[in-house]
Subunit: 434 residues, 2 copies
Amino acid sequence: MTGTILSIGDELVLGQTVDTNSAWLSQQLAAIGCIILRHLTIGDHQLQIESALRESAQLSDVVLISGGIGPTEDDLTRQALASVMNEPLELNATWLAELEKFFSQRGRPMPPMNRIQAMIPRGASMIFNHAGTAAGIKTTLQRSDGKPCRVYVMPGVPKEMKKMFQTSVLPELQARSGGAVILSRTLHTFGLGESAIAERLGPLMHRDRNPSVGTTVSAGVVSLRINSRFDSMQRASDELARIESECRSALGDLIYGQDEQTLQEVVANQLFEINARLSAGATPYTVTTAESCTGGLLAKLLTDLSGSSGYFHRGFVTYSNEAKADLLGVDPQLIQQYGAVSEEVAKAMALGALDRAQARAALAISGIAGPTGGTPSKPVGTVCIALATVDGSAPQVHARTFLFPGDRDMIRDRSAKMALTMLRFHLLGKPLPF
Amino acid sequence: MTGTILSIGDELVLGQTVDTNSAWLSQQLAAIGCIILRHLTIGDHQLQIESALRESAQLSDVVLISGGIGPTEDDLTRQALASVMNEPLELNATWLAELEKFFSQRGRPMPPMNRIQAMIPRGASMIFNHAGTAAGIKTTLQRSDGKPCRVYVMPGVPKEMKKMFQTSVLPELQARSGGAVILSRTLHTFGLGESAIAERLGPLMHRDRNPSVGTTVSAGVVSLRINSRFDSMQRASDELARIESECRSALGDLIYGQDEQTLQEVVANQLFEINARLSAGATPYTVTTAESCTGGLLAKLLTDLSGSSGYFHRGFVTYSNEAKADLLGVDPQLIQQYGAVSEEVAKAMALGALDRAQARAALAISGIAGPTGGTPSKPVGTVCIALATVDGSAPQVHARTFLFPGDRDMIRDRSAKMALTMLRFHLLGKPLPF
C-alpha cells in the first residue's frame, strides 16, 4: 500500500505554521507498513488543491488530506474534492443534526456559515468528528490504471485530526494493509563524523536492504535509523533485532543510546546506577564542573534530569582568568605560560574543581567559542577538555584538545557533549575511542 | 515570482523528523513577495526526487531544495539533479580543497566517501557552505514554456541551510523579485501571556487589516508578527513603521526586542553599552549568577554572546544546600527556617554571589523544576528569583516568587528568562511591569 499526505492551508505554505500533521500521519502509516511516497502542502486555492489531489491519487493507494474543511470562505478542500469527483456538494442530514446539537449544547444558535461543514460531495461518506465541528469525508477515486485510490479528508487542527484518524481512518487502513509492518530503531553516537560512522557500518548501509540502515546528523549527534519492513510483526521484530545487533557490533560503545535518549540522560543513568550500588551511608559519587567557554552549559546538561542532585552538588563558571585562580586555585603563572586555552590550564581547572567540590570526578572546559578570539595556532573552535578523577589515592587527570566546527552555539554545544562523552567512557572504564 | 520548496529525506517522509526547513524558507520567500505554490517532501529515492524536481520546475520560477547532499549512499539529490540536467557529476576543485582543509584542520585525513560532496553536475555552480562539509548547488532548468526555473540545492541540516540561504541564495532571489512586497517585523515580549498581550493591542489585531498583526508563542516568548503587503517597497515600509510604532506604544518596555534578537542578546547589549560609557580605567559593570534549579542555564545564556567576558566573569552553580553555604555564604539556619526555595534564601544567594564575585549585580534562582519535589504549598514550578545590586553604598536586594507552567525543561527555561527580564528592567531603571 502506498500513501500520499496532503496538507492544506495558507498558513502552512506561508511558513507561519510548521506542519506537524504530516510527520504524525507518516508514523501512523509506516507502522502499518504503508509506503509513504510524499508529503505535499498546498495553500487555500481550490484549483491548486484539485490538481494536487488528482496527481496524488494517480500515484497512491491512499491519500490522507488534512485542513481546509473549516467554516470560512478560505476553506476549500470539500469543494475541490467535489470538483475532482465531478459531483455536487450535498447536505448531510446526520452531520447537520450533530452541528445543531453542538451549538445548542453551548447555548447559542448555529452561525449560518457553519452549515457548509455538513456538506459532502454526492457519493462520498461522512466521517464523524468527535472533537470539533468539521465532519471528515471519505471516498474512492478511480486511477487511470483502473485501480482505486482511497481518499480521506480530515480537519487541520492536530487534535481533531488525530482523534478522527485513530477512530475512523486507521481501522479501515489496517484492514487494507494486509498485515505489512515497519518497525524502527534509532541508535545515537557522538564523537565521530557521519562518514566515519558509515565506513564502520559498511555493507549494512547498502541501499535496498531490508532492514535498511540510514544515518542522520543533528547537533553533532550521528544517528543510525534502522527500518524493518515485513509482512508479519514477528519477522519485522526479529530482523530489526538482528540488524540492530550487527550495528552495535560494528560501533560498540560509540553508540551511547537509542530512540528518545539524550547523551546527558545516559550519563545521568550511569551515575544513578553507580550510586544505587553503593552501600548505605557511603559518600555518593559526585561530579563537578569548571567551565570557561561553555559558561554553565555543561552544568545545565548534567542537571537536565530530575534527581541529578544525587550526583551533582555544585559547579563553577570561571569565565575570567581571575575567577579560575580564585574559585579553582589555578596558578596565574600557568595561564601566563600556556594561555587559558591549553591542556595544562584545563587540567589545573579540573583538579581545582575536584578538590574544592570534594567530588569524585571533575570536568573542565576551556576554549575559543568565537567568533572572535582565534589565533593562527589556536583558531576559533579550539577547545581543551580535562577530566580529573579520584578513587581513594591521588587524583588522576588527563586532557584532550579538540577543534570543533561551526559557530559559537555549535562549538559550545559540541564542547559540552564531548565533556559528557569523556565522562561516559571513564565511567565505562574504557579509553575514548577517537 | 513563484516558488516550490522541496525537502528530501527518508526521515521526513517516514515522519521521524518534523520538517521545519520548509516553513522557514517560506517565510523568507514570502518576505520578498514570492508566491509559494507548494511544499513537497520526498524520500531518499533518486527517481522520485527526479520526478518531483521535474514537476516542481515546470510550475515554478524558483525551486529550493534542502537535504540529500550528505556523504552517504542514501544522499541522492545531486545525482537526481545531474540526471534531470542530463549532465554528469564533476569534481569541483574549489570545494574539494575546502573539504581537505576542513579535515586537515581537524588533524585527520578526509574519508574517501566525503569526496562525493565536492561533486557538482556539469554546468551547475557550487554554493559555499560556511557551516558544514556539503557544498550547495545552483543551476537553471528550462521549462517547457521556455521560461527558466532557478534551482538551489542546500543541506538539510537547518543551521547549514539557513546560513547558506541567507548568504548566497536570498541576495540572488531579491534581485529577481519585482513588484509586490511583503515586509514583516516581529516584536518579542516576555512575562505576560498571549491573551494579555492581545488585549493591550486591541483593534490592531483585527482580521483583514493591512498591515496585519498576529501573535505567536514560543518557549514563553509572546511575539507579534506584523505583515505589511503593498505594491511598492516605500508604501510597505511606511505602513509597517506606522503599525510597529502603534504596537510599541501599546506595549512599551514589555517589548524587549525584534526579529532575530534574543532576550539574552538584548541584556548583553544593555551591559555592553553601560561598559562602553565608562571612563577609561573604571571598573567594569559585571553580573554574576547563583543558580540552583536552573543548574547553569542562566550563566550559559549570559555568555551566549561573544564579548560577554566584558560583563560576566564568574558564576556559581549551587545545587546542594551545602554548596549554597560554602560558595555563597548562605546561612544554613535560613534554609532550615524558610526552605531552599524561598525569597529569603534566594536573596541570601544573590547577596552572597554579589559579594564573592565583587560584581555590580547578582541574579539568584532557587526553585522546584520537577517533576518531583513539589509540595501543596510549593508545587512544581514554584521559583524564587532575587536580584542584588550595589552602586557605591550598601547592596540592595529584592526577590519575587513565580509559578511557571510546564515540564522541567520549560520551568528552567522560563526561570532563566525571568531572571534576565528582572535584570533588563533594573538596567532600564524601571520596575517590573507585572
